[in-house]
């Protein structure tokens, strides 16, 4: 093994033009990666599927020696003095951080058009978006640069680009993975997620990064199952719920056809498919786009020119804050900070923020009820459309609707995975599996069965 996989990753990146003059997937490379891979291979006691494997990491996860910019001018060139727990765990398992990947600024977006460092292009069709906000990580896997990448999820930012790019994308249960070193966007929703070329890749990586971390008080002390072994379990007798709210009449016909084929595949494998209802699904996008900006407006208050990155001086302290944040944040981040500030302001707190929290509780109750009724896993489309053209969606709320099938899992805190289930008009289609809290093992079993039946659509 030695450093072969790392060398191959860099060669593939050059071949695919993954830099800013091409697909714009990569924001930074680890120039020491080959040497690290050699050292990992030579180290005693290391082994397993991640040994000397190159990993791509979304640029909002803190790494030593390589900048962590969050795709923002306000953090351009910023190098963290510490590394995220997920990075430390991957390296302890022998993996090598090879690339930091481009992303929507501060993870706000569904197309990776919002990066201060330029749009990421879809590896299969460069005129299209790869999805977002973890678009660079999904594209790195789809382009064949790496088998495994890390992303982050707040409303679907791993699963949606995974679906667009034809790779596997996992959002773990809230609390399953440490967020220490993940730059905060919306703390009640954020999770580190995994992108993999296969379900097995994603299961292997999640098994390494999951588990309690004393540095993150929201991480939960529940044993981590062997996800790779669990994924081989038969789905015979498994009850798959098909929520009707995720299959509206307006659903893209190509996506509906692929989902129908997936449902048939589950039936053929011996699973039981049952129609169910999650009645508050339609409220997920408005709830999400109140709660997430509200939390973002608080979390991003720390970027003011005092402690991090860009500083634009003005005539006094307040002027410096205003000028730094005005110059440092892009249009979408500014819009969400303003929206979040508005819904938290005293005059509108009850009408927006408090009401959104109460509806969020109803969305979570929907999931608890359906799983309590005997459903093991839910199956839905991951996205309402396939990858769209760069620049095709200009209205902010229309862009937000990309999260319509994914934001619910974040609001409820349950785990979910997007699996390639074929293609429509030459573009990948993702199917989503949603499991109860800490039900990743069953989720992986269903995902593995689906992958085995329908195959991968990645490049």
């Amino acid at each position: 093994m030695s450093a072969d996989a790392v060398r191959a990753a860099f060669a593939r990146a050059r071949e695919m033009k993954a830099g800013p003059d091409g697909l714009n997937i990569v924001l930074a490379e680890n120039s020491d990666a080959e040497r690290e891979a050699g050292a990992m291979t030579a180290a005693e006691g290391l082994g397993g599927p991640l040994l000397a494997q190159p990993i791509a990491v979304k640029d909002n996860i803190a790494t030593l020696d390589i900048p962590t910019t969050c795709g923002s001018r306000i953090l351009e060139g910023y190098v963290s003095p510490y590394e995220a727990t997920v990075i430390a765990r991957l390296r302890a398992a022998g993996a090598v951080i090879a690339f930091k990947t481009n992303m929507d600024e501060f993870a706000m977006g569904s197309s990776t058009e919002n990066s201060a460092f330029g749009t990421v292009h879809h590896p299969l069709d460069p005129s299209r978006v790869p999805g977002g906000s973890s678009g660079g990580s999904a594209a790195a896997v789809a382009a064949g640069m790496v088998r495994i990448a890390l992303g982050s999820e707040t409303g679907g930012s791993v699963r949606q680009p995974a679906a667009f790019c034809g790779v596997v994308g996992v959002k773990p249960t809230y609390g399953r993975v440490s967020r220490y070193g993940l730059v905060a966007f919306a703390s009640s929703l954020d999770q580190v997620g995994v992108l993999g070329r296969t379900v097995d890749d994603a299961a292997a990586a999640l098994g390494v990064i999951a588990g309690r971390d004393p540095l993150d008080s929201t991480s939960v002390d529940i044993p981590v199952p062997d996800y790779r072994a669990a994924s081989r379990r038969s789905v015979r007798g498994l009850v798959i719920g098909r929520p009707r709210e995720y299959f509206p009449e307006r659903l893209d016909p190509g996506i509906r056809a692929r989902c129908d084929a997936a449902i048939d595949a589950f039936r053929s494998a011996g699973a039981i498919v049952r129609d169910v209802s999650l009645p508050h699904t339609d409220y997920a996008v408005p709830v999400y786009y109140i709660i997430a900006p509200a939390e973002a407006s608080s979390n991003l208050a720390r970027f003011d020119g005092v402690r991090y990155g860009l500083r634009v001086t003005g005539s006094g302290l307040s002027a410096m804050y205003d000028a730094t944040r005005s110059r440092g944040f892009g249009p979408e981040v500014t819009r969400r900070i303003l929206l979040g500030t508005y819904v938290l302001s005293a005059g509108y707190y009850d009408a927006y923020y408090r009401r959104a929290q109460r509806v969020r509780a109803l969305i979570e109750q929907d999931f608890r009820s359906v799983f309590a009724s005997g459903v093991d896993v839910l199956f839905t489309p991951t996205t309402p459309t396939t990858a769209f053209k760069i620049g095709a969606v200009s209205d902010p709320y229309e862009m937000y609707l990309n999260d319509i099938f994914t934001a619910t899992a974040n609001l409820a805190g349950v785990p979910a995975v997007s699996v390639p289930i074929g293609s429509s008009q030459g573009l990948p289609v993702g199917g989503q599996l949603i499991a109860p809290h800490f039900g990743e093992a069953t989720m992986f079993a269903a995902a593995y069965a689906l992958e085995g039946s329908l195959g991968s659509a990645s490049a």
């Binding site: 307040s318 944040r325 508005y342 929290q357």
Partner: protein
């Protein structure tokens, strides 16, 4: 929900983001349209929702007044450092930040 230019100025002040006056029409329009979509939540029956859960404080929880700059301090700013210039504290430069000085915008 019609967001006025003054609303945008007020929330930008609370958020400490400088907004160019020429951007006000676009921002006011975008925020208004987004908030129009949020209005659907007013129709939801939330009587079955757990109102006391995490992140869902009891009604009547005290809220502070929406007030932007200046930052209220119990003592004058000059009491916090031996010297000030242009609203900033003058402190010894950190050795670890010496390389950053040339990159700061002025």
């Amino acid at each position: 929900m019609a967001i006025t230019f003054d609303d945008v100025r007020q929330i930008a002040s609370l958020a400490r983001v400088g907004i160019d006056e020429t951007r006000l029409p676009v921002l006011a329009g975008e925020l208004s349209r987004i908030l129009d979509h949020m209005a659907v939540l007013a129709q939801v029956d939330v009587s079955a929702s757990d109102a006391g859960g995490p992140g869902n404080p009891e009604p009547g929880a005290p809220l502070r007044r929406d007030a932007g700059p200046p930052i209220p301090l119990s003592e004058a700013l000059s009491h916090f450092a031996p010297d000030m210039r242009g609203g900033f504290f003058i402190v010894p430069r950190l050795a670890t930040h010496e390389d950053d000085a040339s990159e700061e915008e002025t």
